[in-house]
Amino acid sequence: MNSTHHSLDYVRKDLPVNFKKIGLILSVVGLILVIAAYYSDPVRSAFNNLVFLMLLTSIGLGAMFLVAIEYIGGAVWSTPFRRIAEFLAAVLILVPIAAIPVYLNLHDLYHWTHTDVVAADKILSSKSPYLNESFMLIRIALFMAIWLIFYKIITGNSKKQDESKDQNLTTKNIKISAIFMPFFALTITFAAIDWMMSLEPHWFSTIYGVYYFSGTVLAGLAAVTFLAVYLNEKGLLVKGLKSDNYYSLGALLFAFTNFWAYIAFSQYMLIWYANLPEETFWYLARWGGNWKFVTLGLLVVHFIVPYFGLLSQPSKMDPKRLKFMSLWILFAHLYDIYWLVMPTFSKESFVFGWIEAGFLSLAVGLILLIFNYKASRENVVAIGDPKLIRGINFRL
């Protein structure tokens, strides 16, 4: 242990050219495919658009949660990587844009928006004070406003600190992050209920918000982990970051993989055991046709592989393993959202084609572009943060 740093060794550099290039290519290809998709099959596109929207929300909100939790918990190890999470939280800016096509296609997505259907259905009409278009629009607009306001304040303070090194900004952000938490819990829950649970308006599950939360944190964490290892390998972060600094990222990925499995199992187990028809139909829809294989695959993709991939202590610090597992977990989260959303669209069998590929390409491309944009204008490391040197010196 000869690498105890007392001063910062950080020079701001641009991201590799390829980063932007790939982002641009994926975005353009994705956008063309998405436009073509809306012409050829608008309903399927709308469902894909919802998956796309949820993926962006997960990464943006998940990253935002990580920033806030670092402040509240007073975490030190994560400070060298916090700016990465802040940049990823900027994805939240894309969320309202991604939501526009969803709103233009509400009738294709949500059964409960058809007033004639609702009028004929006793249960749906009893839900209409909550499930109606205008209230949903107001709610979601409010949620997005909350996310963006907290994003602006917290990352704004962090950015200011780069110059001023003012410790009061940390104190301020701790307070704001604590206030953010109850808002976060409620908005993410009701966003998940509105956007995804109400796809099957008769179905209900009290744990649904927690389920989406567990996936969101995993997605945010995986994106941060991948970029942290990648950027450090390219020498774009501060000097002195070693595999010890990665350990907690790996440990948290492992912990939240288990948390997701725990929540998913709790929901499944209780519904299966009680066997009430008003709940089981949701799982039965995911067992019909070849959806069975997607459902079984979810267990493997989202739990078994990351569980064994990150179980041992060395694997939580190995950069190669972390890069692979974080990409895997991002894929697993996409898979999970697809599994939550698409059975409503295609009941018989799962579908995957150029339309799905197009939306995925656009999502990845846009995330890369927005990250590149932020990195080209701001420091990739929170160089003014008082905890930074402690964070760099962190050793297990």
Partner: protein, 455 residues
Amino acid sequence: MSTVDYSQELSVVEGRPSLRELDDLISKPLESKPDKKFFIAISFTGLMLLTGITALGASFIYGTGLWGNNNPVGWGFPIVNFVFWVGIGHAGTLISAILFLFRQKWRTGIARFAEGMTIFAVITAAMFPLIHTGRPWLPLYLAPYPNQHSIWPNFISPLLWDVFAVSTYFIVSLIFWYVGLIPDLAVLRDKAGTKVKKTIYSIFSLGWRFSNRHWQHYEMMYLILAGFATPLVLSVHTIVSYDFAVSIMPGWHATIFPPYFVAGAVFSGFAMVQNVLIFIRKIFNYEHIITLKVLENMNKIILLTGSLVGYAYAMEFFIAWYSGVQAEQFTFINRAFGPYAWAYWIMISCNVISPQLFWFKKIRTSIPIMFVLGVLVNVGMWFERFVITVTSLSRDYLPSSWAYYTPTITDFGILIGSFGLFFTLLLIFTKTLPVISIAEVKAVVDGAQPTHKDH
């Protein structure tokens, strides 16, 4: 103006006591004879315990007709008490295992004590299902082994899973606790005055000689056990929640029950640990080890878990309405405005409303106020289990069988007895084993860490 310097790590133990001072201070209660106060305290808890034994004895002689359980409400106080005490146990493992994995150094001063509370709480909790089996002298029938009657336990019942979950939890907690004690027992062995003490401590310290190799094995073992204990924190109360949630009883069957029960358990456990520590640190002069900052951190966790519990209440209520299921809607309206509304609002005010005061630093750091709020949390959490168990059962699907449940004096006697058992064990603990981990506290005292400042 910033009062905290974030660039420096805060010290966990105040005043930089020497290692010798720590040895002496922590082992002092064990080396001195119990004083008058101790005898008064233990007579009081012993009396409570005796009350419980009397009530229980009467129940065995005259039958459960002495309890308030009636026809729709087949589960009364015993289940409520069981869930309550299992919940109290959760803080110990959370502090000793999960906070250890999160590298929270402030836990060192309180981990041993909280773990001890876990073990005593689980012992207290385990009494209730044992009573409930009706023939507590035949506990082996709960174990799945091929006996000559060819009787197997009912594997599809979550009540059986409870047996496995709670006993696993107890065993792992006990091992975890004991492994942590080994270096401290060696300290006591070396300090022991009488031969009897020395022999006992020698046996239990397993030949510990503080060698480098011993420490290496010890640390690895501790880490592995922490890893084992972590899922157990979740699993035990998850299984307890299954006792309710796998049924189709409105108000019980909610998918959020597992994480909600775990959060509630940690919530009540922390409140109990906080309450007891307030006295311990004062009586034994541990105020520089169990600092105000530690209590403040505990209050923050109480605030967090209390809010999670509040979230779960809100979610249950909302989804009951949203589901459109009439029975669910009725159950929740009945809870809030029916004959048990008083219990429901005690639960809401103690669990959701009053802990919100911990948002304010002044309240988080005021010992009298935090004590009161901690007591209220445990009142609230006991009532939570009461509300869940009793309200749903007393008004189930069949209105003709509805009945009001009134606990009897025997029920209260057993409840008092459970507190008596718990606190008696706790008092004995304070005089027989070090309530603070000597070894772990030594490692977090300022100056104990290797530094490279002048390399």
